[in-house]
């Protein structure tokens, strides 16, 4: 069985450990950085967070008070962007994965979608100014910003949803078609429910990115300061990432604003983690309900 001489075997064994180490070290380095960043943020930000901090508008030139308008603004644009991008993205993915013929045009569309996912967000921001703010006269508003963010999300949602749909075995579709179901019935009953966790993951990635992006909202609707909560989608708004940027770099009393900046960053992180958690639970429940990976 073991034809290698003993020293060669030891060498092989030793090398295998070396390779393992090569693979493990980057993971450890990455985890250390992330853990340190989160720890640093919370150590500096957690004391600032209080009930008042999340329920009051900023006061005294944003060196006191809370960040309520930013929280509401961020949730508002995120909502608008998802309402826009989820249906379009998922339908586009269904078309690409299930209906589109496999020809040059489809392959071009597919690679265009992949490329769009890699375009810097500032480009989307400027495009949003041209199209939504100026082009269709939405002005600087929640709606213009939300649509710009939605546009930015679209390729991510399409790509991940298409991947999720393609990973469902063809036998699910065949089984339905073989008893006389239509193609759409086969997709609706036997593909979509099982692709749902994967689609949700894509939406979640998009959501986390949307909440944290600054560039696309910068020229399309976010404002430095307003005491008001946006009542209509055509108003300007404050947002957490921009508030953080403003407090950290643009404020005239940087040191006074610093604790609020840390608090804002911590709140943003908590919000993202909260959505992560909800999606995780949802995915777990659906995955156990439709357990098909045997």
């Amino acid at each position: 069985m073991n034809s290698l001489p003993a020293d060669r075997r030891r060498r092989k064994y030793f090398l295998s450990n070396v390779y393992f180490l090569f693979l493990a070290v980057p993971v450890i380095i990455f985890l250390v950085f992330v853990a340190y960043m989160v720890f640093y943020l919370f150590r500096n930000g957690i004391n600032v967070i209080s009930w008042e901090f999340i329920t009051r508008p900023p006061e005294r030139g944003m060196t006191a008070g809370g960040i309520l308008p930013c929280i509401v603004g961020t949730l508002y644009v995120t909502l608008v962007s998802l309402i826009f991008s989820i249906p379009i993205g998922v339908f586009a993915a269904i078309y690409l994965a299930e209906y589109a013929p496999n020809n040059l045009l489809t392959r071009m569309i597919r690679s265009a979608v992949r490329s769009l996912a890699g375009i810097p967000s500032i480009v989307y921001g400027l495009f949003g100014v041209a199209l939504f703010v100026r082009g269709v006269h939405l002005g600087l508003s929640v709606l213009a910003s939300g649509l710009t963010l939605g546009l930015m999300n679209l390729p991510w949602i399409i790509a991940t949803a298409e991947e999720a749909l393609s990973s469902i075995p063809g036998s699910f579709r065949e089984g339905a078609l073989a008893v006389g179901a239509t193609k759409w019935e086969a997709i609706r009953h036997n593909v979509l429910p099982f692709a749902f966790p994967g689609i949700l993951t894509g939406i979640l990635l998009a959501l986390a990115r949307t909440m944290g992006e600054t560039a696309p909202i910068l020229f399309t609707g976010v404002t430095y300061f307003t005491r008001e909560l946006p009542r209509s989608p055509l108003q300007k708004f404050m947002a957490l990432p921009y508030h953080l940027f403003a407090l950290a770099t643009q404020h005239d009393q940087l040191m006074k604003a610093r604790p609020i900046a840390f608090g804002t960053a911590a709140v943003l992180l908590i919000l993202v983690l909260m959505f992560d958690g909800v999606a995780f639970l949802l995915r777990m429940r659906i995955a156990t309900a439709n357990k098909w990976q045997v």
Binding site: P101, S171, E174, A178, V179, G180, T182, H189, N190, K291
Partner: protein, 257 residues
């Protein structure tokens, strides 16, 4: 070809000069074959001989492969299947696949799937269909208390029986089976073969298999295919004892394939 010794039994399903292409590749070449009603016809041949393609063209499942097209005729009760609605065709000509592809749903929902897409929604009616279908595949006694259980928790054999039951639930006339036992152990294989023998009382059955013993055990008629052509077709006993073509004899006696 119509099999020797079946002159009087009417063909339920037949092909005339059937050729099937995938792009420029011709997988089935000019096949004419008649499947007698209420009998089991086996199609044997080495891998890649076109037997699965032939089977899948009989209920137009080959159309799922891009670039597939056919030439020639396929007749169900003497009527060209392309004159039927494809959904109606697949309801009348059901199919079971190599791997038991039970849906990740409950046993009940698996079987009720077909009737539901054909518009039957009354619970009582569905319950009747589920019971009748499970009884037909001899699963009722094992599963009657576990109809809510996810079908993926069943054994391979139970799942394959379930897939047959799912097909029966839409009351087909012809059953197409594409190597239905290749994922099963030998005992389960014998059980499924027993089941097929019972089902042929009511249904016309076509089974594709690369297992010659299985064809010999279970079928009434056998067709041998090689490189897309139907080399020989006859009663199973004739094919296995007195093959007319040297290629058939070579394959049967295990000299290749």
């Amino acid at each position: 070809m119509s099999p020797e010794g079946s002159v009087n039994s009417p063909a339920k399903l037949a092909t005339k000069n059937l050729s099937v292409f995938y792009g420029s590749f011709q997988a089935v070449i000019d096949v004419g074959i008649e499947f007698p009603a209420c009998a089991i016809t086996a199609i044997i041949g080495p891998s890649g001989c076109g037997k699965s393609t032939l089977l899948r063209s009989l209920n137009r499942m080959n159309e799922l492969i891009e670039g597939a097209k056919i030439r020639g005729e396929i007749l169900l009760d003497g009527k060209n299947i392309y004159q039927l609605n494809v959904l109606e065709l697949r309801k009348r000509v059901g199919m079971v696949f190599q791997r038991p592809n039970a849906f990740p749903l409950s046993v009940f929902d698996n079987i009720a799937y077909g009737p539901r897409v054909h518009g039957i929604n009354r619970r009582q009616k569905l319950t009747e269909i589920v019971e009748r279908s499970l009884k037909a595949v001899r699963l009722w006694d094992e599963l009657k208390d576990r109809l809510d259980q996810n079908a993926l928790g069943l054994t391979d054999e139970q799942r394959q029986r379930l897939c047959i039951a799912r097909m029966l639930a839409v009351e087909p006339e012809v059953l197409l089976l594409d190597e239905p036992c290749s994922a099963l152990d030998p005992i389960a294989t014998l059980h499924i073969e027993d089941l097929l023998r019972q089902l042929k009382e009511k249904y016309t059955i076509v089974i594709v298999t690369h297992n010659m013993q299985q064809a010999a055990r279970v079928s009434d008629f056998t067709g041998f295919m090689l490189l897309g052509k139907l080399i020989e077709f006859g009663t199973t006993s004739q094919i296995f004892t007195r093959p007319q073509h040297p290629e058939t004899e070579n394959y049967i006696s295990g000299r290749f394939g």
